[in-house]
């Protein structure tokens, strides 16, 4: 099995170019839930599926504990999205579009995208490609591990352009607000 660090970075800081998410500082229960989901297929992924299936449940929990306690430095050079997409992304993130029954992302993921509790992961500073891929995965039904089906409902109401715009907005937010940046 390849080392987690080969994709997720030495201290779990992720890798924007490869679209590998940051793991450091995410909530333990969230990380464990995701590894379990990769293992049981409710989050279907060709790379992470076999990796998670190769781990015993206790190993998955131990890795969750490990990464939840890590502190990776913030990525160098946050991406700068172009203005129009940024405005649209910020609007969806901070205000929502209630005529489409879309609350603001911030209402579940926190005002600066730093996450809330164990069920609502941080979005700030995650690679744009990774965030956009998750929104497509919910739409396509390959990720269906979300509590109450909340993210499926949200993703279905986003157009592809909106998903790209809001992913770019969050990718550009500083991670310092979350445990991961300190």
């Amino acid at each position: 099995m390849p080392a987690c660090a080969s994709c997720h970075g030495d201290s779990g800081g992720g890798n924007a170019e490869g679209g590998f998410p940051r793991l450091s500082g995410l909530a333990e229960d969230y990380l464990a839930h995701e590894l379990d989901s990769f293992a049981d297929g409710s989050r279907d992924h060709e790379i992470m599926g076999p990796i998670a299936q190769g781990l015993a449940p206790e190993e998955r929990r131990a890795l969750a504990v490990f990464y939840a306690g890590l502190r990776a430095p913030p990525p160098d050079g946050t991406p700068q999205p172009d203005d129009t997409a940024y405005d649209r992304g910020r609007m969806l993130a901070q205000t929502g579009e209630w005529t489409k029954a879309l609350p603001a992302c911030a209402q579940c993921h926190g005002p600066a995208g730093q996450g809330v509790g164990a069920a609502f992961p941080p979005l700030a500073g995650q690679p744009a490609a990774y965030l956009a891929a998750q929104l497509s995965a919910w739409k396509a039904g390959t990720r269906h591990n979300d509590p109450l089906g909340l993210m499926k409902g949200i993703a279905d109401r986003l157009s592809d352009d909106d998903a790209t715009a809001v992913a770019a907005y969050y990718a550009a937010l500083p991670v310092t607000a979350i445990g991961g940046g300190r």
Binding site: T95, G96, W98, A101, L102, P103, A106, Q107, C108, G110, P111, A112, Q114, G115, V116, G117, A119, F120, P147, L148, G149, L150, G153, I154, A177, I178, G179
Partner: protein, 310 residues
């Protein structure tokens, strides 16, 4: 400059257009009963219509107070709520007691205090009860800004008419309220966000993201939401967040009864006599104040009312 020159005819044009597009605008004059409403939903003006001058500044201030009440009107707020927690999308969303519809139906006679209330006086009540705070004095910049924001949203709507989407939906009365069922619904569909203890959840920087539903930091026993009728309507239309109208009526009634049968800050009108206060202000089968639930007489050990400033 007066209101007429300040506001353009935008919304009126939109209403007319919507009517021309097939929706027959049948509005309900105040006081009439049972008239069907088939009008297309009223659409308040976008933020971009706010003018870039001193008047626009006050509209913007009102919007900020509505959204970030504890920070912008600190002296009058005694809990962790914001106006927009119960009037979603910053007072714009129909069926969550939107400001644009509310603005049209005042002055109005209210049984709650047995006299004609102006819109400003209605707003005072929100601070005293829903925000467990203190009413800003009439003419206070906080009330002026909120009223100006409401007028901005209501621009172009027919004054004196009860528009579709006003207030919270009124659900058909249930056969009874089942608290055990309400507790199950709560655990399955609400606790994820509002917490098992109803205290809500904050993000790491301390901002309240999921508002408290009961306990010392929520609305008090005098608030509209402490009546199961209002809570059931709000919850049915709007909760769980992003999944409005997914609960059955029975689920909405029972979970509303569950949250409104937990302890919360005292009714500011409490006279020291629980039974008398219940009789005067809570005499309804949809109101648990003064009733014994799970071994607790609600209102007896209530946290204090009007805890300001924050």
């Amino acid at each position: 400059m007066n209101l007429m020159t300040r506001f353009t005819g935008r919304s009126a044009a939109r209403l007319a257009l919507a009517t021309a597009m097939g929706g027959l605008a049948v509005l309900t004059p105040l006081g009439s009963v049972g008239a069907e409403t088939t009008a297309p939903p009223f659409v308040p003006q976008p933020d971009s219509a706010i003018s870039d001058d001193d008047f626009g500044q006050v509209i913007r201030l009102g919007e900020r107070i509505f959204r970030d009440t504890g920070a912008e009107a600190r002296a009058f707020v005694g809990n962790d709520l914001r106006c927009t927690n119960c009037h979603l999308d910053r007072g714009r969303l129909g069926h969550s007691a939107p400001l644009w519809a509310a603005y049209l139906v005042y002055p109005a006679y209210r049984a709650k205090n047995r006299h004609v209330n102006t819109f400003a006086e209605r707003l005072q009540g929100c601070f005293r009860y829903s925000m467990n705070g203190k009413a800003p004095p009439l003419g206070d910049p906080v009330l002026v800004a909120l009223e100006t924001y409401a007028a901005f949203l209501a621009h172009g709507a027919p004054v004196g008419m009860k528009l579709p989407g006003q207030g919270y939906p009124k659900l058909a009365k249930p056969k009874g309220l089942d608290l055990a069922h309400g507790r199950e619904v709560y655990a399955a569909k609400c606790a994820l966000c509002h917490g098992g203890d109803g205290a809500g959840q904050a993000s790491p920087d301390g901002t309240i993201v999921f508002p408290p539903l009961w306990g010392a930091r929520s609305y008090n026993w005098g608030a509209g939401m402490s009546s199961v009728v209002n809570a059931a309507g709000f919850i049915k239309a709007n909760m769980p967040l992003s999944q409005g109208n997914s609960l059955t009526d029975a689920e909405a009634w029972d979970v509303a009864a569950y949250i409104d049968s937990r302890e919360r800050p005292q009714d500011p009108r409490f006279t020291g006599d629980l039974a008398a206060t219940r009789k005067a202000h809570h005499d309804s089968p949809y109101d648990f104040y003064g009733q014994a639930v799970d071994g607790v007489t609600l209102g007896e050990g209530a946290p204090p009312a009007g805890t300001v400033p924050h």
